[in-house]
């Protein structure tokens, strides 16, 4: 279950990251439409909510909450570091 909720957290944080114009442009080289950004934000939020719900269901409110927040923070780092890694391998001027 922890792997599933962590996967939800990572995908959710990645979605929220890509909902930001600068990161979307980094990855896809096109400017995101506002509707695309909104749907990415919604998608990401739903996944994060799923991560929280999944953890709380299996480990109770308190411990589930702690695990969920921890996984979400870690997922944020994965998203940020992952994106930076990908961008570092591409040639191009720093923004």
């Amino acid at each position: 279950m922890n792997l599933i909720t962590f996967a939800l957290a990572c995908t959710g944080m990645l979605a929220l990251c890509l909902a930001m114009t600068r990161h979307y442009r980094d990855l896809f080289n096109t400017h995101p439409a506002p509707s695309r950004r909104a749907s990415l934000r919604l998608f990401g939020s739903v996944l994060l909510a799923g991560c929280i719900a999944g953890n709380m269901a299996t480990q109770g409110m308190a411990i589930g909450g702690v695990v969920a927040i921890g996984q979400i923070m870690l997922a944020g780092l994965v998203a940020g570091l992952g994106l930076a890694w990908k961008m570092a391998r591409q040639p191009g001027a720093p923004r």
């Binding site: 308190a62 411990i63 940020g80 720093p94």
Partner: protein, 509 residues
């Protein structure tokens, strides 16, 4: 001074000055998440899983009576658990206040060879092995950390826009600032909560005002009312015949309808007032249970069940949140990874400071560089050296813990010396030290294989996953550090001393 300018100065200096101390505290705290696993790894006698437990608390009391002649103020015992499969004993002498400890193999009742164990890192974390003074220094460092976190939040202009931003190809100062912000902001709930709860653990020592005002400064009245426990002063009468403590534990199990027993504490064993307290273990909750049972040591009569007031239970919850002994290994894995993120935040912050001032050749550059190398590399290398030492120092040596301590301290001193001698060649310095880390990390499982019969990776991978995990983490760390050493130059290493005006603007407010 304007607010942003003032807060920037506070953040930069309030962050830099305690940064090395905070690195020690956070890094050892990270290691201490798995102190029990490390301790088990450092006790090869326990690598064969015990088939049954022959030992009980009465055997330990007997051992104590046979081996320690001085009258004791108290002694405390803890039975084997999954993570710590051995009996733990600690005691404090009445007259001198000197404390001692021992560990016992549950399969045969033999005393285990002493080791610094994982507890070494835990103690280093909360008092730097410097007793009460160390505890106060750590508390002060925690206050500096909280202030740095809050001032950092105030000055971060684009805290949401920059949330995921990391540009390793940018010039050195910008890249390090991005990293500092990434690890700092994404991990902010963790850093804030752990800094605050960490300081809160010793609130009674750091803030005596409440006890002074509401209890007229009477510590016994304060502690006993706040904890809701039971205390009986010494009667200065000779003791009777103690009842079986194992029997009292059975009674406690019946009372709570659970078999998970935690610490068993015997107070004033040589006095007629002696009490045996039994505590319950419950890792399914964040706060440890506060329903300890107190028994008369000679009649076995149940004297009291602890009734803790709600604020004390809240305090215990905060302590529990910090100690991460709840919820299983996933919690400790998350805490340790986030703790490493905290360490990265410190390292990145120091590098921003260095990059900014390298252009101007400010005073203090050499000192900061030397401290960075000595601490950020020294502590991890010393920690690995301790584990290496544990495998090489023979178990028959009486002052085994001293020898292990010297492995740790000696390695750290060597790294410091190296940092001072090679301070003019920073790139080569970091590459060499990464290589040392790599060799120590990759070599440890090999050393393990050569020096133990049941403790090495091939033996533990099947029946003792937590022991195997130690070796696997060593391999991973060693591999990462070796790769870092081999890489010719990194995007973050020596890029652009020139440039970075945008960072200057950001930092100058």
């Amino acid at each position: 001074m304007k607010l942003r300018q003032a807060m920037t100065g506070l953040h930069i200096w309030g962050g830099l000055l305690p940064s090395w101390l905070l690195f020690v505290i956070i890094f050892t705290g990270t290691l201490a998440c798995f102190d029990k696993e490390l301790e088990r790894w450092m006790r090869p006698a326990l690598h064969v899983p015990a088939s049954e437990t022959v030992m009980g608390t009465d055997a330990i009391s007997t051992w104590l009576g046979d081996n320690i002649s001085a009258p004791l103020h108290a002694y405390w015992m803890h039975g084997p658990t999954d993570r710590a499969p051995y009996w733990q004993l600690g005691w404090e002498e009445d007259a001198t206040g000197v404390r001692g400890k021992a560990a016992f193999d549950p399969a045969n009742g033999q005393r285990l060879a002493d080791t610094l164990g994982g507890e070494f890192f835990f103690t280093l974390h909360y008092n730097l092995h410097a007793g009460q003074l160390g505890m106060y220094i750590v508390g002060l460092a925690g206050m500096f950390m909280l202030t740095a976190l809050v001032s950092g939040i105030i000055i971060h202009r684009r805290i949401f826009k920059d949330f995921f931003t990391l540009r390793p190809n940018a010039n050195g100062q910008r890249a390090w600032l991005d990293a500092h912000n990434l690890f700092g902001v994404i991990g902010l709930p963790f850093h804030l909560v752990l800094a605050y709860t960490g300081v809160a653990v010793f609130v009674a020592s750091y803030m005596p005002a409440g006890a002074l005002v509401a209890y007229n400064g009477d510590p016994m009245a304060f502690y006993s009312e706040v904890q809701g426990g039971y205390h009986r002063n010494e009667l200065h009468q000779p003791p009777g015949t103690p009842v079986s403590i194992d029997g009292l534990i059975e009674d406690a199990r019946q009372h709570w309808q659970t078999s998970d027993i935690g610490w068993v504490i015997v107070e004033h064993p040589h006095d007629a007032s002696s009490i045996v307290s039994v505590r319950r273990l419950d890792p399914s909750r964040i706060g440890s249970p506060q329903d300890a049972l107190s028994y008369d040591a000679f009649t076995g009569e149940l004297l009291n069940q602890q009734q803790a007031p709600s604020a004390y239970r809240a305090y215990i919850w905060l302590v529990g949140l910090h100690m991460a002994q709840f919820g299983g290994q996933i919690v400790r894995v998350l805490y340790s990874l986030l703790g490493l993120a905290g360490c990265m935040m410190l390292v990145a912050g120091n590098n921003v400071w260095l990059r900014k001032r390298t252009k101007r050749q400010s005073p203090g550059l050499t000192l900061v560089r030397a401290l960075n190398t000595a601490v950020f590399f020294g502590l991890p290398i010393a920690s690995l050296a301790l584990l290496w030492g544990n495998r090489f120092i023979p178990s028959e040596l009486t002052s085994r813990t001293t020898a292990e301590a010297w492995s740790f301290a000696g390695a750290w001193l060597l790294v410091t010396l190296f940092a001072l001698l090679t301070h003019r060649q920073p790139t080569r310095q970091t590459r060499t030290l990464f290589a040392v880390l790599g060799l120590l990390g990759l070599g440890l499982p090999l050393v393990n294989y050569l020096t133990t019969t049941d403790g090495h990776l091939l033996a533990t991978i099947n029946h003792a996953p937590m022991l195997a995990a130690v070796d696997l983490v060593m391999l991973l760390t060693g591999g990462l550090c070796s790769w870092r050493a081999v890489k010719a130059s990194s995007p973050m290493a020596d890029k652009g001393i020139a440039g970075g005006q945008d960072v200057d603007q950001e930092l100058a407010g």
